[in-house]
Amino acid sequence: MRDYEVVYIFKPDLLADEVSGRLERYHQMLTGGDGSEITAVEHWGKRQLAYPIQNELNGYYVVAQFRCDPAHLPEYERLLKLEEQLVRYLVVLSEGELPTPPSALAEGSDAPGTGRPESKRKEATDAAPEATPAPDTDEAPSDDDGVETATEEKVEAPTEEVV
């Protein structure tokens, strides 16, 4: 038994019901009653692809996690490959977390705030004993600021804006 995570990208013109029906069919293959289970399914819905795939500019994303015996996988992946409405899929070993929503960085936005003063202090104390010239010590924190404000903006921006 291992934990896996799979991302499906369906053609954008599929309805949510059709997608659910297909997912059920795929997942039936995995849950063979030997303790295999689907632990999480998350529909991201339609979003823009970073580049066209099969002439499609959008895709319907679904992320799922499951636990099953590795022996089930070849058959499961064969089914996925035959599926024409499935533009792309990726099965990877799960890294232990529930599927993170697209806005995963929400908690990350707090971290820079708490980390900033600390890092500044560190740099200041580091720089002082080294007896580096004053412009150096000034520059380091100011540069840091630029980077972190930039990251905060990115965090707040809606995730859907993928070019």
């Binding site: 970073a50 995963a104 980390g115 990115k154």
Partner: protein, 72 residues
């Protein structure tokens, strides 16, 4: 001008990088979508390896472009 760099991911205590988190990954990519080198980001080696792997997965899933701006 040498500036001491600290791995931002270590600093913030992010142990693992999610390939689905394209906002995070975009901070480690150039404006053309290339993976930034460690000398530019100051990432530690373990995190740099994770970044590289995550960016490649994200590209495959069309969450990140292989070449940004190519199709515009």
């Amino acid at each position: 001008m040498a500036m001491k760099k600290v791995c931002k991911l270590c600093e913030r205590g992010i142990p693992r990088i999610d390939y689905k988190d394209e906002q995070l990954l975009s901070r480690f990519m150039t404006d053309r979508g290339k993976i930034l080198p460690r000398r530019a980001t100051g990432s530690c080696a373990p995190h740099q390896r994770q970044i590289a792997a995550a960016v490649k997965r994200a590209r495959y899933l069309a969450l990140a472009p292989y070449i940004k701006g190519y199709y515009e």
